[in-house]
């Protein structure tokens, strides 16, 4: 960006540049790289055999299955909501839009522990609907439905937040043209809107699933920590970590989640790259016209 011939006032002297880069790298090294490397180092301290044995444990296997179930439920529900909310907000101008936008952000501002607490107050034994639920033999708190609800609450805004700016930037002309030419509503969505937002949607879904798999605080409140029943992978890590002799196993499970986090980051980089390329192509096309 800045060639060596850039005037002196437009960039910093080389020594300033390199010390700033060095300082930034030291900060990120201490806070991001070292913790990540440590997870894998601790996981393998007792060798690969112990590492892989950690996942063969039935409790760990159950935790992985439950975590995946919770993830799928959150991603599907919040994905549908995200697309619907983004369509309503970006394609129409209506009263109360900015209020709706603020309310969508609400879960970002709520502490995970409070997110869990609200569902305990609603569905717990002493909760508002507690006696009705126990009469009908429905268990939500200290059971899987509570875990799903708390995770859905935490990951609620992710897809909508990712789609709204993209769809706002794209405007409504293409969809309107298709409608005027006689396309039906669903056709417009599948053939015009979806291809335009697919990379943003994919990234929103990835982010949502990463957060859903890793949620700890909210799930911790509603799960009851029943081994082999209501333990998700992050809760399983906590139990192993606090148990003597299971230190390496805790980090083995942690390394699995770290790997997923890294996959998320790689996918995000790919999505951003594809999006930039698609935009460049669109710009080129409009230049040709």
């Amino acid at each position: 960006m800045y060639s060596p011939r850039t005037p002196r006032q437009l960039t910093e002297p080389a020594w300033v540049r390199w010390s700033l880069i060095g300082l930034a790298l030291i900060f990120l090294g201490l806070f991001l790289v070292l913790p990540l490397v440590l997870v894998f180092a601790e996981a393998f301290t007792k060798g690969a055999a112990v590492y892989f044995a950690s996942f063969n444990d039935p409790d760990a296997a159950h935790a992985i299955k439950l975590t995946l179930l919770v993830m799928v439920a959150s991603v599907v529900c919040n994905g549908v909501f995200g697309v619907a909310a983004a369509w309503a907000i970006t394609k129409f101008s209506f009263r109360g839009k900015s209020l709706l936008l603020t309310l969508i952000d609400l879960p970002f501002a709520v502490s995970p522990v409070i997110a869990g607490l609200i569902f305990v107050l609603l569905f717990g034994a002493q909760g508002l609907m507690g006696s009705w639920l126990s009469d009908h033999d429905v268990k939500i708190i200290f059971a899987v439905p509570g875990i799903v609800l708390a995770t859905m609450f935490i990951t609620f805004p992710f897809v909508a937040r990712e789609l709204i700016p993209i769809m706002q930037a794209q405007g409504t002309e293409e969809e309107e043209a298709a409608r005027v030419l006689g396309a039906r509503g669903w056709t417009v969505f599948w053939r015009i809107t979806l291809p335009n937002i697919k990379w943003g949607l994919l990234y929103g879904l990835i982010l949502c699933s990463a957060r859903a798999m890793g949620e700890f605080g909210a799930v911790s409140v509603v799960s009851g920590h029943i081994r082999g029943e209501t333990n998700t992978l992050p809760l399983h890590i906590e139990i192993l970590y606090n148990e003597p002799g299971q230190y390496a196993a805790a980090f083995a499970c942690a390394s699995l989640l770290s790997l997923l986090a890294l996959v998320t980051l790689v996918l995000k980089a790919i999505v951003e790259w594809r999006q930039a390329r698609a935009q460049a192509q669109a710009a080129q096309l409009s230049n040709v016209e």
Binding site: L10, R17, L20, I21, A24, F27, L28, L30, L32, V33, L34, P35, L36, L38, V39, F81, A84, A85, A88, K91, F92, F94, L100, T102, D105, F108, A109, V110, S111, V113, I114, L117, I118, L121, T172, E175, E176, R179, V180, G185, V188, L207, A210, G214, F216, G217, S220, V221, P234, I237, E238, Y241, A250, F251, A254, S258, A261, L265, K268, A269
Partner: protein, 277 residues
């Protein structure tokens, strides 16, 4: 539904998508939050006030808000530095570093918690160097600050970075041709452009850090009056089935968070207006 529309449109699905969004939002977010407020209203004012002003609770607010403030300020300084280096300079590994900044968003907080505890513990890779200096990180407020700095790291970088990228070089060139020094250009030309974004990033980082639970629980040790953050205190009340107390403290936190959210929204609107000008 059509009554709400301000403009006629040929596009379909307004009633369906808005209706679904509002119902889903109400069921999952608004009604449960309303129950929390309702439950707190069941307390008399005196009960509420004595619960939320107990010394142990006040100590937890001080730690939660104080540590979150320090962490957010640290991230303002280093976040600006990282954003600046990523946008303005070219060096090997820049793209990887750029992607890695989002790690705290993607990494589960419990994993971050045990990793930081192991790293800064007395035998850890960093902790063993701090120990001879008399600095203890694990089970102290310093540990809380470290964990909160980690989880709120991406916010300032990601709000400042796009603003720096969009900053035209023309103004800087004009200032330079008029004889301004590099420092003067940064202070008078660049900084006024990025400071609303910096402030937004700070508020987002602070809001996230105040409510954090997962990464702190491992490194703090949860010592009452010393290293107990407010979310941990709420958790403790819940484990003893003291729902009323937990609710009262949660309402205090919730109000603080909403004030922050409102401030962030106003800031963002102000920033976009500035950008549009």
């Amino acid at each position: 539904m059509p009554l709400l529309l301000k403009k006629k449109t040929v596009l379909p699905g307004f009633g369906l998508t808005l209706g679904f969004s509002v119902v889903y939002l109400s069921l999952l977010v608004l009604i449960p939050l309303a129950v929390l407020v309702m439950k707190a209203m069941g307390l008399t004012w005196e009960q509420f006030w004595t619960t939320v002003t107990r010394p142990q609770v006040v100590a937890s607010y001080k730690l939660s808000f104080g540590a979150a403030l320090i962490a957010a300020l640290l991230n303002v300084v280093f976040g600006l530095l990282v954003a600046w280096v990523l946008v303005r300079y070219r060096f090997p590994g820049r793209k990887i570093i750029d992607a890695l900044v989002d790690l705290p968003f993607a990494l589960p907080t419990a994993v971050a918690g045990i990793a930081l505890t192991a790293l800064y513990g007395p035998k850890g890779w960093i902790g063993q160097w701090l120990e001879p200096l008399g600095i203890k990180a694990v089970f102290t407020p310093l540990g809380v600050v470290i964990a909160l700095t980690f989880i709120s790291l991406p916010f300032v970088v990601r709000t400042v970075q796009p603003v720096l990228e969009d900053l035209g070089k023309e103004v800087e060139e004009a200032a330079a041709s008029l004889g301004a020094s590099r420092m003067a250009i940064f202070r008078r030309v660049i900084f006024p452009e990025i400071w609303p974004a910096l402030l937004t990033g700070f508020a987002l980082a602070f809001a996230r850090a105040v409510g954090e639970y997962g990464s702190v629980v491992f490194i703090s040790g949860n010592l009452p009056m010393k290293t107990q953050i407010t979310p941990l205190l709420i958790m403790g009340q819940l484990e003893q089935f003291k729902y009323a107390e937990a609710t009262a403290i949660a309402v205090v936190m919730l109000v603080a968070s909403f004030v922050l959210l409102l401030a962030i929204n106003l800031l963002q609107r102000w920033t976009t207006r500035r950008m549009a000008m």
